[in-house]
Amino acid sequence: MRYFTDEHEWIDVEGDVATVGITDYAQGQLGDIVFVELPAVGSAVEKGKDAAVVESVKAASDVYAPITGEVTETNGALEEDPALVNSAPEGEGWFFKMTIADAGQLEGLMDEAAYKDFVAGL
C-alpha cells in the first residue's frame, strides 16, 4: 500500500518496512537534481521532521519523514546517480527504508487517488 503526504513524499508499506521517496510532482517542481543527502542508517526520523535534503541546480529542499521510525537502509544508487530521482522518482529513485513505529500515523496520509486530487488542486 502506498501513501502520500501533502509535502509530496510517498511511503510504500510492505509488512513492517516502509520505503520513502518523493513524488513525480515533487521532482518536476525541483528540476534537475544534482545531490541527495540521505539520513544515516540507524538514525531515528520523526514524522514531519527533516529526513533528507534534495539539491537541485537552483536550490536545496528538505524532505520530511512521512512517519516516525528508524532508518534501516538508504538508496546507495542516488550517490552515483542523483538524477534517478528525476527519471524514476516513484521507483528506482527511492530515498530510504524505515521501520514503522506507529502504524496509526499512516492513517492520516493520502492514498494515491486522494494525492492525485490534491496535486490537481495546486
Binding site: E7, H8, E9, I22, A26, Q29, L30, G31, D32, V34, F35, E37, V53, V54, E55, S56, V57, K58, A59, A60, S61, D62, V63, Y64, P82
Partner: protein, 386 residues
C-alpha cells in the same frame, strides 16, 4: 518537501506585476516565479526545458532570455554628461556613441547601490539597471541629478537577450541596419530593424552568460512577435531565470543583491574596471575617498571563485573556513551544469584569496573541501572581431 528560502523569494510580498511577455512565457509552459516584483519564467516545459537542458542549449546554440524586468532609463538634458559623472565613476569622454559600458551606482561610503550599463545615444544616455533596484535607482538619480536633466523610465520597452555561439547566425537573418550586424563587436551597439515586423530595436553585443550574444531593447507591444520570430530560428529556444543564474555563475559574473550590496565595495568585488582610469586619480564620485584608498592599499577581503569537491553545492550564506578560522562567506553558489561540479563565489580574507588556496565550506554542519579558483569557471567567448 519545502524549498529553503532564497533572498529573492523573500524580496517582497507585494502584488506581482506581469511582464510584457507574460502570456508568451505561459504558452511555452514556463513555470513562473516571483522575482524583482514580477512573475518571471524560471524554466520552460518540453524536451529542451529545465535548467540543465536550457543551460547547455545556451552554451551550444542560442538562448532567448526575457529580461524586461530590468530598468531601462533614458537620461537627457543639458549637462547630463557632467551630472552622470558626478554620480558614477565613469569616464564619459572615452565612451563612444553606441557602446555600452559597465558602471556602478555607489553610496557616499563607496558601497554598491547597483551595477548598470551606460550607453551614449545621440540625445543623451541609455542606462540599464537591475530590476529589483530600479525604483530606488530612479529615486537616487532624481535626487542627485540637477533639474535640467530628465530621467525617462522606458517602461514601454521590453528587453530581450539572445545569448550563445549561434546567436549571431540567428539574429543576422532577421535584422537589417546601417551597418552589418557583424560590425558589432563585444560592447558595441546600434539600431537595427527586424525586417519581418518592421520593429526598430536597439541592439548591443553584450550579455550576462559569458557567451557571444546580444541584448535587444524594443517596444513592449512588439516583444511577442519578435520573440516568436527569434524562436522560429532553429538555433533559438527560450531560456528561464534558472539557467540565467547558472550561466552567469559559471562566467564569474556578479549578481547584485547577492555578490555585492551597500555592504561591499567594488574593489573588494574585483570590479575595478567599473571605476574608469581617469576617475581613479581624479575622484569626484560618491565614495571616491574609500575606493581610491582601497585601490592603492588593497582590501581586507576579496571576492573569489571556489571549486568545491564532491557533488554537494554550497549556496549563498555558507561559511568559509581555513582550518578553524572563519575567513569568509559564500555569496553565490550552485551546481555547474557545464563542469558537472559545484562552484561558488565568496568573499574571503585577502590572505586566503590566492588561486589554489585550499579552504573548506560548511554546508549543514559538514565541511566540504574547496579550492580558490580563477574565474570565469567557463571561459568567456565574447566576439571581439575576426
Amino acid at each position: 518537501m519545502t524549498d529553503h528560502d532564497t533572498a529573492e523569494d523573500q524580496l517582497e510580498d507585494l502584488p506581482l506585476d506581469a511582464l510584457p511577455l507574460d502570456a508568451w512565457h505561459r504558452a511555452r509552459g514556463a513555470r513562473m516565479v516571483p522575482f524583482a516584483g514580477y512573475e518571471m519564467p524560471i524554466q520552460y516545459a518540453g524536451p529542451f526545458g529545465g535548467i540543465v537542458a536550457e543551460h547547455k542549449w545556451t552554451r551550444e546554440q542560442a538562448g532567448l532570455f526575457d529580461v524586461s524586468h530590468m530598468g531601462q532609463l533614458h537620461i537627457t538634458g543639458e549637462g547630463a554628461e557632467a551630472a552622470l559623472e558626478a554620480v558614477l565613476p565613469i569616464d564619459l569622454a572615452t565612451l563612444k556613441h553606441g557602446n555600452p559600458r559597465y558602471s556602478l551606482l555607489l553610496d557616499e561610503n563607496g558601497g554598491v547601490l547597483d551595477d548598470l550599463m551606460v550607453t551614449r545615444w545621440n540625445d543623451g544616455f541609455y542606462l540599464v539597471v537591475n530590476g529589483a533596484t530600479k525604483w530606488d535607482d530612479i529615486a537616487h538619480l532624481r535626487e542627485h541629478l540637477p533639474d535640467e536633466v530628465t530621467i525617462s523610465h522606458m517602461d514601454e520597452h521590453a528587453l530581450l537577450a539572445l545569448q550563445g555561439p549561434k546567436a549571431f547566425a540567428a539574429l543576422d537573418r532577421l535584422v537589417i541596419g546601417d551597418t552589418p550586424l557583424g560590425a558589432l563587436t563585444f560592447m558595441k551597439g546600434a539600431t537595427f530593424t527586424f525586417t519581418h515586423t518592421g520593429t526598430d530595436a536597439w541592439v548591443s553585443r553584450s550579455g550576462y552568460t559569458g557567451e557571444d550574444g546580444f541584448e535587444i531593447s524594443l517596444p513592449a507591444d512588439a516583444a511577442a512577435e519578435v520573440a516568436d520570430l527569434l524562436c522560429a530560428e532553429p538555433e533559438v529556444k527560450p531560456i528561464g531565470l534558472g539557467a540565467r543564474d547558472s550561466l552567469r555563475l559559471e562566467a564569474g559574473l556578479p549578481l547584485y543583491g547577492h555578490d555585492m550590496s551597500p555592504e561591499t565595495s567594488p574593489i573588494e568585488a574585483g570590479l575595478i574596471f567599473g571605476i574608469n582610469k581617469r576617475r581613479r586619480t581624479e575622484g569626484g564620485f560618491p565614495g571616491a575617498e574609500r575606493i581610491i584608498r582601497e585601490i592603492n592599499e588593497g582590501t581586507q577581503r576579496k571576492w573569489v571563485g571556489l571549486r568545491i569537491e564532491g557533488r554537494l553545492p554550497a549556496r549563498e550564506g555558507a561559511e568559509v573556513f581555513s582550518g578553524s578560522d572563519h575567513i569568509g562567506t559564500v555569496t553565490s553558489g550552485g551546481f555547474s551544469p557545464s563542469l558537472g561540479a559545484p562552484i561558488a563565489m565568496a568573499y574571503v580574507a585577502s590572505t586566503h584569496a590566492a588561486p589554489g588556496t585550499a579552504l573548506e565550506v560548511e554546508v549543514r554542519g559538514k565541511r566540504l573541501a574547496a579550492i580558490v579558483s580563477p574565474t570565469p569557471f567557463v571561459p568567456h567567448r565574447y566576439y571581439r572581431g575576426s
